[in-house]
């Protein structure tokens, strides 16, 4: 309870400090929409050259793309500060203050930033899903809806856990931003149906960096009923629990290695 109260207090402070930079927030919002527009345009330009992508129509690929923004957007809201930790804050010795407070460092980093830009992703994703769904003829089942929601929420937990683990490595290597960036970039590949990848990559995207598990498989379940939605939901929840526990463990192990820059 105390932590929930503390979280909101910190977030309020972060929003106030963010609003100090109104112009930057506007530029950030604009660049956010622009960047998503560019990625969508790139997919559209590629698909213009071919009839279907491994059997998936333009609307279906669009649906995949829109759904992939759900877990990514949710994660974006809560864990943006880890980018800074990985790229600069440890290297600059900027973490001292967190170690002096009587609250876990990991919690403080979460409470440092709330990124409203994530809402942009969620809105854009829902819009894209709606537009594409109107161009599809799918028999929607209750199970499919549940697995999509589970995929979005627990998928976000998995992405956040990956972020925390990679950012934690900065305590050892001083700067782990590029590593985090690359792991995060794998989410780009889950924007397409798993069917386009060979078996090895498919396995990697389901079991190692499970972007496929919570993006492609739920969407396939909705479009083609390929998986049992309840078993899939259970698998996603289990994976999220394991990843989160691992992330907290790695973070606790690594934070002991923090040393200030002494300047």
């Amino acid at each position: 309870m105390r932590y929930i109260h503390l979280y909101f207090t910190c977030i309020k402070r972060s929003m106030i400090s963010r609003l100090e930079y109104k112009k930057d927030t506007i530029v950030a919002l604009f660049s956010f929409f622009f960047s998503n527009l560019c990625s969508l345009a790139a997919v559209y330009f590629i698909l213009q050259a071919i009839p279907t992508l491994a059997g998936y129509s333009l609307a279906e690929v669009g649906f995949f793309y829109g759904f992939s923004m759900m877990p990514i957007g949710l994660d974006h809201l809560f864990s943006d500060e880890f980018w800074l930790v990985a790229y600069r804050r440890v290297k600059d010795g900027d973490m001292d203050m967190h170690f002096l407070r009587p609250v876990p460092v990991l919690f403080q980093v979460f409470a440092e930033t709330f990124q409203p830009e994530g809402f942009g992703e969620l809105i854009l994703g829902v819009a894209l899903i709606t537009v594409c769904a109107l161009n599809l003829t799918v028999k929607v089942t209750f199970g499919a809806i549940v697995v999509l929601i589970i995929g979005a929420v627990f998928g976000a937990v998995i992405i956040t856990s990956l972020k925390v683990s990679m950012a934690a490595l900065a305590f050892i290597f001083k700067r782990s931003g590029p590593l985090l960036q690359i792991i995060y970039n794998f989410s780009a590949y889950a924007k397409y149906p798993l069917a386009i990848y060979p078996a090895l990559i498919r396995t990697l995207l389901i079991f190692v960096l499970p972007f496929g598990l919570f993006i492609s498989l739920p969407v396939d379940t909705l479009l083609y009923g390929t998986n049992n939605p309840w078993l899939l939901s259970l698998a996603i929840i289990c994976a999220a629990t394991v990843f989160f526990a691992l992330a907290v463990w790695i973070w606790t192990l690594c934070e002991r290695r923090y040393e200030s820059t002494g300047s």
Binding site: E20, Y21, K23, D24, T25, I26, V27, A28, L29, F30, S31, F32, F34, S35, C38, S39, A41, A42, F45, I46, Q48, A49, I50, P51, T52, L53, A54, G55, R88, F173, K174, R175, S176, P178, L179, I182, I183, N185, F186, Y189, Y192, I196, Y197, P198, I201, L204
Partner: protein
């Protein structure tokens, strides 16, 4: 005259060396990422009406794979640049004041640092990576356009185009950095810059995939010189005349944008508010 910038060049080079372990991890995982990209393109070519051997917008699937591999190495070697963030930090922490009273140009300092980065990256990673990639791709027949000895002229032009791309990248980062004077924070500006560059430079996909009108416009913009053109020069998809024209265009853009940056800086510097210190 240029001697006073030598320490920055050296610092840039050493700084990059100091984080070489990080860079190695980065390189390792980039390989996985490129593999995924290759599968995406293979699937695109397999799904095309004429089968896998179709030429789509001037690229066979072999050339497309070479393009993806080479642009990735190019981006890795050329864009190790912290200019925007350093300016942002100088503004936020007020350290900008220290530089304004020193008898060196603020712009020159960054250009020298980024050249230092480029030097280290090219020697430590560019040389082995390009050699390995070119040897593998040619022996697999993935670079059908390559002919010897004409290749050596293209290689020379590619190095020049790479230098231009790195300078241009630094100029653009600097302009966006100076814009932080107005917004007081670099988050939004940085993501805008990253998107602009990766989409319009042909890193995301070759510009020939763009619809005709847009393609014409983008080809005249500075960004194509930052990724697509150097790689097409190296792959010998451009003949010598085209290569020279593309590189000259990039060089011209550097001059124009440097002048713009100078004007912008002299306006922005009046806006400086050192925050708290």
């Amino acid at each position: 005259m240029l001697k006073k910038y030598k320490p920055f060049l050296r610092a840039g080079a050493i700084d990059t060396m100091a984080f070489r372990f990080n860079i190695l991890i980065w390189a390792g995982i980039t390989v996985c990422e490129v593999a995924c990209m290759i599968f995406l393109w293979l699937s695109v070519y397999r799904s095309s009406e004429g089968g896998v051997d179709t030429v789509i917008h001037g690229f066979s699937y072999r050339e497309m794979i070479s393009y993806v591999v080479l642009t990735t190495i190019f981006g890795f070697v050329t864009y190790n640049n912290d200019t925007l963030w350093n300016i942002n930090t100088d503004i936020k922490k007020g350290t900008i004041g220290n530089y304004l009273i020193k008898p060196i140009s603020y712009r020159g300092k960054f250009a020298a640092t980024s050249l230092g980065n480029l030097l280290t990256m090219t020697l430590m990673f560019g040389l082995p990576f390009y050699t390995a990639a070119l040897l593998t791709l040619t022996s697999l027949g993935f670079l059908p356009g390559l002919t010897f000895p004409a290749f050596f002229a293209h290689l020379g032009l590619f190095l020049l185009a790479g230098l231009c791309a790195s300078l241009l990248n630094d100029t653009i980062a600097y302009i966006f950095g100076v814009l932080c004077f107005y917004t007081s924070s670099g988050w939004g500006l940085n993501s805008l810059k990253v998107t602009l560059v990766s989409f319009l430079s042909g890193t995301l996909l070759p510009l020939s995939f763009f619809p005709a009108g847009l393609r014409e416009v983008v080809n005249w913009m500075p960004f194509a010189g930052m990724s697509q053109n150097p790689i097409l020069i190296l792959m010998m998809k451009y003949d010598l005349a085209e290569s020279l024209r593309a590189t000259a265009l990039t060089a011209a853009w550097i001059i124009v944008l440097e002048l713009f940056a100078k004007l912008l800086f002299s306006h922005a510097i009046r806006k400086v508010t050192v925050q708290g210190g």
